[in-house]
């Protein structure tokens, strides 16, 4: 097993997805009110995946490498894979627990769980790939599973519309990616990221074009402005658990794919970093402005994901542009993990609230900001956890979001570059701006007079939903107070990134 850890890591969730689906078909309950029992197989699948993950992580943290070769394909589990897998497994576990009751009334839940496991497999797989083609394959697998998840409510027009828009734009993005790969393969005859840099010194222009194709193609998935227009629709129309996965890890995985692909081209253009800085600034601003006047809670969180991609892109930009800014990479990976926890918590808490207020009564209208009035009177835990999530997203201590933003900024400051300082101040102003939509939510939730919607909501809270929220909430609070708990993981990821680019 020791030699094939990566295969175990990939096959465990892949096989569980099939098992979960098939067993789920047979178990499909006549009574649609009760959850399909196959969900517990899904939980077991995640738990089983933790075993090879932990074994591989121990190797990485001890400085050993974890590699598997099958024919021409080499898979490497490095620091980045470790961080991405950790994030997706924790978030995936929370989402599945959350969905037990949330999806109970839906038709064909077993498809939902099967797709979710495929999504998790593809994200782990993507993070271990070392050649352009494999990345692309895993990336498409991830995309296909998310298309179906976004449009999961297939009888609703809005949900289908979001799914179609998402599909069209992602497909456009895929074309760019293929084009980029073709340019590189045509010039060098290689697809392995390690072999390419040595062969491209003479063909700089083609490589720049390939780089632009990658940034555009993967950038669509990462919601880089101005390729972000699909995101608010897709992330707000999907079932809450899927929104959490999409915002929490899928867009970040797009970024990992982009970084891996760009690492092949590194010698060709030094200005990749500047693009990330520009995109970072744009994303923060556009995301925040979009969210500021939103009256629909999930849509607001979707815009907030755009702005958080901005912070992440800014950190990558610092790292690529300035030699001294390696601490930014630590910050970026820390923020990726934190964002998964915070945004996951925000979407799931909003989902739990909309479930109790509307969905359980057959009302499928979206959760509006005004529905949150006085929610703490009836659902104190949901109110507390959603408050923690939004305040963390706004970057207030002692919660996780503050620390990782600080680390990104601190890395940028080490460059001693005035423009870096300017961007940091700009990011700081954006953080204040973001409180303009997060803080009023908290005020609404803690009113004494509940809204009519709240009074009419069902009182019973689902235990599994609450458990999933608390799981994420613990990370958000703990990492804010004890950031060193995860520094081994972010540190390995950061040194892996350093290996790729320097």
């Amino acid at each position: 097993m020791q030699n094939n850890l990566i295969l175990w890591l990939l096959f465990t969730p892949m096989i569980s997805s099939v098992v979960v689906y098939v067993v789920g078909r047979f178990l499909a309950p006549n009574d649609t009110e009760k959850p399909n029992k196959t969900v517990w197989l899904c939980v077991a699948g995640i738990a089983a995946t933790f075993v090879p993950f932990i074994l591989s992580s121990i190797n990485i943290l001890n400085g050993k490498s974890v590699t598997t070769t099958i024919g021409d394909i080499t898979l490497v589990f490095d620091g980045i894979s470790m961080l991405v897998s950790l994030t997706v497994l924790i978030l995936g576990l929370a989402v599945i627990l959350f969905s037990v009751d949330y999806m109970a009334a839906e038709h064909s839940e077993e498809k939902f769980y099967g797709l979710l496991m495929i999504l998790i497999t593809s994200i782990i797989g993507l993070s271990t790939s070392t050649d352009l083609f494999n990345i692309y394959i895993w990336f498409e697998l991830m995309a296909v599973s998310t298309y179906s998840l976004v449009a999961f409510y297939r009888n609703r027009a809005t949900s289908l519309e979001a799914g179609i828009k998402y599909l069209t734009q992602s497909a456009a993005g895929s074309i760019f990616i293929i084009l980029g790969i073709a340019m590189i393969f045509g010039t060098t005859g290689k697809i392995s990221m390690q072999d390419i840099p040595a062969l491209i010194a003479s063909s700089k222009r083609i490589m720049i074009a390939a780089g632009a194709c990658f940034i555009t193609g993967y950038g669509i998935k990462c919601a880089f402005v101005p390729m972000h227009f699909w995101l608010p629709d897709a992330h707000s129309q999907a079932p809450s658990g899927v929104s959490a996965m999409l915002s929490g890890i899928v867009i970040e995985t797009g970024l990992i794919a982009l970084l891996r692909s760009l690492s092949a081209l590194n010698p060709a253009a030094a200005s990749f970093g500047i693009i990330f800085l520009l995109i970072g600034a744009l994303n923060m601003l556009i995301g925040n402005l979009g969210a500021l006047r939103q009256s629909e809670v999930k849509r607001m969180f979707a815009f907030s994901s755009i702005s958080h991609m901005g912070y992440i892109a800014l950190g990558i930009g610092f790292f690529l542009t300035f030699q001294e800014s390696t601490a930014s990479a630590d910050g970026v990976f820390f923020h990726i993990f934190n964002h998964a926890m915070m945004k996951g918590l925000a979407f799931l808490a909003a989902g739990a609230i909309v479930f109790n207020l509307k969905q359980a009564k057959g009302d499928h209208s979206p959760l509006m900001v005004k529905d949150l009035d006085g929610i703490s009177q009836k659902y104190p835990w949901y109110a507390l956890l959603l408050s923690i999530a939004v305040l963390a997203l706004g970057g207030l201590p002692p919660l996780a979001g503050f620390i990782s933003k600080w680390q990104i900024f601190a890395g940028g400051a080490l460059s001693k570059n005035p423009w870096a300082m300017f961007l940091i101040v700009f990011a700081g102003i954006n953080s204040v701006l973001s409180l303009g939509y997060y803080a009023p939510l908290v005020n609404r939730m803690y009113r004494h007079q509940p809204s009519q919607t709240v009074l009419a909501g069902i009182s019973k809270c689902s235990a599994t939903m609450l458990a999933s929220l608390i799981l994420l909430g613990i990370f958000v609070v703990l990492l804010g107070l004890f950031p060193m708990l995860i520094s081994n993981y972010t540190g390995s990821a950061s040194s892996a990134l350093l290996n790729m680019f320097r």
């Binding site: 200005s271 002692p398 803080a439």
Partner: protein
């Protein structure tokens, strides 16, 4: 020992906050008792910590890359403020036992207060620039939550959000400052930074940007010009919160920040002058606003702003001791004034001074406490405010141009006017309406008596105070002075009598124009300006308007039309190619 004490002082109230949050609505009595015990124990701890003042640096472990160490220092600057926060915090909680009796959501109220007390202690004790920012933001969070405690009232929510935005916006200055410290010295340790700055190892441009960044942060937090508009609106908070956060502690964080970093920026051209003038302008503007305000809590808020201006001016004139000593006096007498105001408001049910009057007979104990506080505020001899204000005036006379000193004397007149006006309108004069007055509760009175006693005697600590400062702050170069020497300097100085004359002049001026309260003393134009916050409210609103318009515009971009979305993708590709083309 010191390390354990510091850890307890920060974590114990936080632990209390968690416990109290878990209380049930029905356990109201238990909630009160728990809050009182937690805050009382923290207060005792903070008093024990007073004995540990020294140059100790406590550093535990590294927090991670770019975050420095979990480090604290046990010097006088931090420990005295910790004591203020914990002791006044305890009194405010005791006061709340009666004041908040029967209110809903007590758990949230007390949890936030305890979270605040712990964070305030952390803010002043830490010697890591990132942790200052960390605790700084927690205090902002608590302040905002407590201002908008009555979330159903739109005014309270608006006040809370305003406080949050303005202090956070200023906080960017602190972010910038601490990041510059990190990038220039490679460490976040404040002592290390000050030493490097004094040795001239830091580029002067970076030092200047950091210095002015910190001034912006401090001005926003301490509600100084041009950020002073949030504090009056913060008065929607329950009164014990106003006393604790918006008079005695959090608003002092800005002053603390400048005192802490002052030695590093002595070489920056214009740094001291800027601090001085921010203070002076604030004092003048806010004193005038205090004279025209009719809401009891707003008058006190304006007077807080103006007293904080005195603290700024003292730092600008180069005297950290004077600033800190007045900070101590101000924390005590302003907490007293606010809590008295709370007792009055609780008893009569309104904050409008025009509806009060002749309350002296109906609530004698509260009236006497309030008058003691007001005398101290006005600078009438033997109360603590008199001594510390004289110290500031002396520092300004020796450390700043004469014109500034004259302006300060003018400010003393204004202070006397608004103090006497406030006392007169509330406790004396004609009865304006048939207000039903009920007796303030037992716990309210206890807190008031303790603070009143403090107002009368706290200046006696000057000797120990100045000794602790000179002993524990090597970079500040402060000379110790005994109480006797301090008193004799002030009593012998003819300028003291000039200042006392100004106070009397202010009172006399007001008494002669009493029929039309204060109107004849100052011109009518000034009243219009003062009531409108000298136009700063309008600027705030314009900014909010602009941002909202921008947001509406950005929503129009999000059309949802597929062609438009694909157009976005293509634009992106073109832009990326252009940047890469130029760069490559």
């Amino acid at each position: 020992m010191t390390a354990i004490l510091i850890a307890l002082i920060i974590l114990f109230p936080w632990f209390g906050a968690v416990i109290i949050w878990l209380m049930k609505d029905e356990q109201e009595k238990l909630t009160h008792i728990l809050a009182m015990s937690f805050s009382a124990f923290s207060a005792v701890l903070s008093l024990v910590l007073l004995t540990r003042i020294g140059q100790d640096q406590i550093s535990a472990y590294s927090l991670g890359i770019g975050m420095g160490d979990l480090a604290f220092s046990a010097d006088a600057l931090g420990i005295i403020l910790t004591c203020i926060a914990n002791c006044i915090g305890c009194l405010a909680v005791v006061f709340s036992k009666d004041y908040m009796n029967g209110e809903k959501d007590l758990q949230r109220y007390y949890s936030m207060i305890l979270l605040f007390i712990g964070a305030m202690s952390g803010l002043v004790l830490t010697s890591n620039a990132m942790l200052i920012f960390f605790f700084w933001e927690i205090t902002a969070l608590c302040s905002y939550q407590l201002i908008s405690f009555y979330n159903d009232d739109p005014k309270a929510v608006r006040g809370g959000l305003k406080a949050l935005f303005i202090t956070q916006f200023g906080g960017i200055g602190l972010l910038l400052g601490s990041l510059l410290i990190f990038s220039q010295t490679g460490s976040l340790d404040i002592q290390h930074f000050i030493a490097a700055a004094q040795a001239g190892e830091i580029s002067s441009a970076a030092l200047a940007v950091a210095g002015f960044g910190l001034i912006a942060a401090a001005a926003a937090k301490s509600s100084q010009f041009p950020f002073f508009t949030w504090l009056p609106d913060a008065m929607e908070a329950p009164t014990p919160v106003s006393a604790l956060i918006h008079a005695a502690t959090m608003v002092n964080a800005g002053v603390y920040l400048l005192c802490r970093f002052a030695p590093a920026f002595q070489g920056v051209a214009g740094w001291n002058t800027t601090v001085l003038w921010v203070g002076i302008i604030t004092i003048l503007l806010s004193s005038v606003m205090a004279i025209f305000a009719n809401d009891l809590k707003r008058v006190l808020a304006y007077s807080t702003v103006s007293q904080l201006g005195f603290l700024f001016a003292a730092i600008g004139a180069g005297s950290v001791t004077a600033s800190q000593f007045h900070l101590l006096s101000h924390a005590i007498f302003k907490a007293l004034l606010f809590l008295c105001a709370g007792a009055v408001i609780h008893s009569v049910g309104t904050r409008d001074m025009r509806l009060m009057g002749n309350l002296y007979k109906k609530m004698k104990p509260v009236a006497i406490c309030f008058i003691i506080g007001a005398c101290s505020l006005a600078g009438i001899p033997i109360f603590n405010g008199f001594w510390s204000k004289e110290l500031i005036l002396e520092a300004i006379h020796s450390g700043a141009p004469l014109s500034v000193y004259i302006l300060m004397l003018f400010a003393v007149i204004l202070t006397a006017i608004y103090s006497i006006r406030c006392v007169w309108m509330v406790f004396f004069g004609k009865e304006k309406s048939e207000l039903h007055v009920h007796e303030p509760g037992r716990f309210m009175k206890y807190s008031l008596y303790v603070l009143a006693a403090g107002t009368v005697v706290s200046w006696l600590t000057f000797g120990g105070f100045s000794n602790a400062f000179s002993k524990s702050l090597p970079h500040h170069e402060i000379e110790a002075e005994s109480l006797g020497k301090f008193l004799s300097t002030i009593i012998k100085d003819p300028l003291t009598y000039l200042a006392i004359f100004m106070v009397i002049l202010g009172i006399v001026l007001w008494i002669f124009h009493k029929p039309g309260p204060s109107k004849a003393v100052l011109p009518k134009v000034l009243e219009t300006c003062a009531v409108n916050s000298f136009g700063f409210e309008i600027i705030n609103e314009k900014i909010i308007d602009k941002i909202q318009n921008l947001s509406e515009f950005s929503r129009e971009l999000q059309s949802g039309i597929l062609n438009w979305n694909i157009f976005g993708v293509l634009t992106g590709l073109v832009l990326i190619l252009i940047v890469l083309g130029i760069g490559g």
